[in-house]
Amino acid sequence: MTDIAVETSAPAELPRTKTDWVPLALVPALALLALPFIGSPSAWVTLTVAGLAMGMMIFLMASGLTLVFGLMDIINFGHGVFISLGAYATLIVLGPLAGWGEADSIGLNLALLGLCIVTAMAVTGVVGAVFERVIVRPVYGSHLKQILVTMGGLIVAEQAIHAIWGASPIPIRLPETLRGAFVIGDIVMERYRVVAVGVGLVVFIGMQLLLNRTRIGLLIRAGVENPEMVEALGYRIRRLFVSVFVAGSALAGLGGVMWAFYRQTLTAGMGMEVMVLVFIVIIVGGLGSVGGCFVGSILVALVANYVGFLAPKLALISNILVMALVLTWRPQGLFPVARR
């Protein structure tokens, strides 16, 4: 965003913006609350790191959808296909550069992961642009049609993946130095999960900077709240819609890469399988809120891990329970943004 002369003219002793700390405090509060129940500090650290990594991967897959949902008012049930497509796009890189993955070099391994991410984001971004033009644009404003049409798009795209890469699951291997775990005393942290936390944090910080420090970010935030007024100010919101849809698809592709290496198996339905979780974190976080999506993802993943350890039979309903509790407390999610 262009800095403006305003800042020099405005008085210095202005009141500060109040931050809504309560939802932010939920994550550390939950982690601390779980500690006495889990008992062993090392098990607690292992579960917490695993939960953070899972949360970051969910965030990567969900962050694009929350923007699309909030800004465009589009219910895109086809979002899962971009996750699957991103995962399969790794094969484009892993085929010719398999040697980089087997090399005992952290530099080559991370370069391979980076190339997979760039390729997946490019592929899903392009497919996202086509998906928006062909499937989504004709049904702007009609939620029922959006659900039907994007579900149809998802099915067609999954079949296309089968046609291109085959219907059988495809195993992939983590790059050499990302396999195994860091062991510190009794604490075990899988290396790849630590990388996933790093990638998730980088993307989150990048998105926060984009949304809060640039004019395009301002436009997105304003468009989430009142697209009509953004148009009345002279901006072409349709172009912004397309850009956000493409960016959202590319982010899903990035999430797909991370998810693929985590599962180490590719299936066309892998994106659809996580969509329930993706929708839960978007609703928990508040439609259109990237920060809410981030906190919601970590919250849901940590609860799943802690509950899975303490009461495995309850693990399956823990996500729904989190959503129900959050919505009872804040019916529009942790950080409501969209006013529509």
Binding site: T2, P11, L14, R221, E228, M229, L233, V337
Partner: protein, 241 residues
């Protein structure tokens, strides 16, 4: 005679099955403050939204500065120099006051002299400069909505009921702000229900009923003629002072 800045000729607007504007014809002269009056449901808001392209005119012509804008998109109309302040104010509550202004200045940084002028008109905004606009009171939100409309030079301001729901002291501040805008040579089309505010500000007046302009003329003539007020608006100015 100079051509008016904005000219509506037999404009009709349908919203779904409803025929709201039924042949609106009027001129808005350059540099004037024109009040658009009428009872609820007369079509005032629809007129502004139709000019802005937010609802499409079914037929008729809208000319702005000699150019036909009837079928132009809303962003094109805004880029041509028309600013719109809706009745709901539509400020971005999650953005700070500063960010609301920054966004409205499409062409780049706000000129500091203009900013000083704006904050001089609405000094309350200074105090909340870095706070989310959702924290503002109703009157302050209205000030921000108008400040946003004048963040950069525009040819015409369309303002929908800026005094609605405001406390009397805030209404007086708003009247002063519009007087200052008028003195600065802005062309304004202002929808208003408050006849006291309208009579204090308007150079010209348009009265709407059932989707048509039923009276147009100088505001001073309407203020001076209580029989006409009674006939057009069902009120007398005395009752609103």
């Amino acid at each position: 005679m100079t051509e008016p800045l904005l000219q509506l000729t037999d404009v009709h607007t349908h919203i779904g099955p409803y025929h709201i504007l039924q042949g609106v014809t009027c001129d808005i002269p350059t540099g004037s403050l024109t009040m658009l009056l009428g009872r609820n449901g007369a079509g005032k808001t629809t007129t502004l939204r139709t000019i802005m392209g937010l609802w499409r005119a079914s037929s008729g012509k809208i000319r702005f500065d000699g150019r036909d804008i009837t079928t132009c998109s809303t962003p094109s109309i805004a880029q041509a120099g028309i600013a719109y302040v809706p009745e709901s104010m539509a400020i971005f509550t999650d953005l700070t006051v500063r960010e609301n202004i920054v966004l409205a200045a499409r062409s780049g940084p706000v000129d500091s002299a203009r900013l000083d002028w704006m904050l001089g008109l609405f000094p309350a905004l200074k105090r909340f400069w870095n706070l989310p606009a959702g924290n503002l009171s109703g009157g302050q939100k209205q000030m921000l909505a108008i400040a946003r409309a004048i963040a950069e030079p525009r040819r015409l301001l369309l303002v929908d009921e800026p005094t609605k729901g405001l406390a009397p002291v805030m209404v007086r501040s708003m009247i002063e702000a519009f007087r200052a805008l008028k003195a600065a040579g802005e062309t304004i089309l202002l929808v208003e229900q408050n006849f006291y505010a309208a009579s204090a500000l308007g150079d010209n007046v348009l009265v709407m009923d059932d989707g048509r302009i039923v009276h147009s003329g100088a505001m001073s003539d309407l203020v001076a003629d209580q029989v006409l007020q009674q006939r057009l608006l069902g009120l007398s100015l005395d009752a609103h002072q």
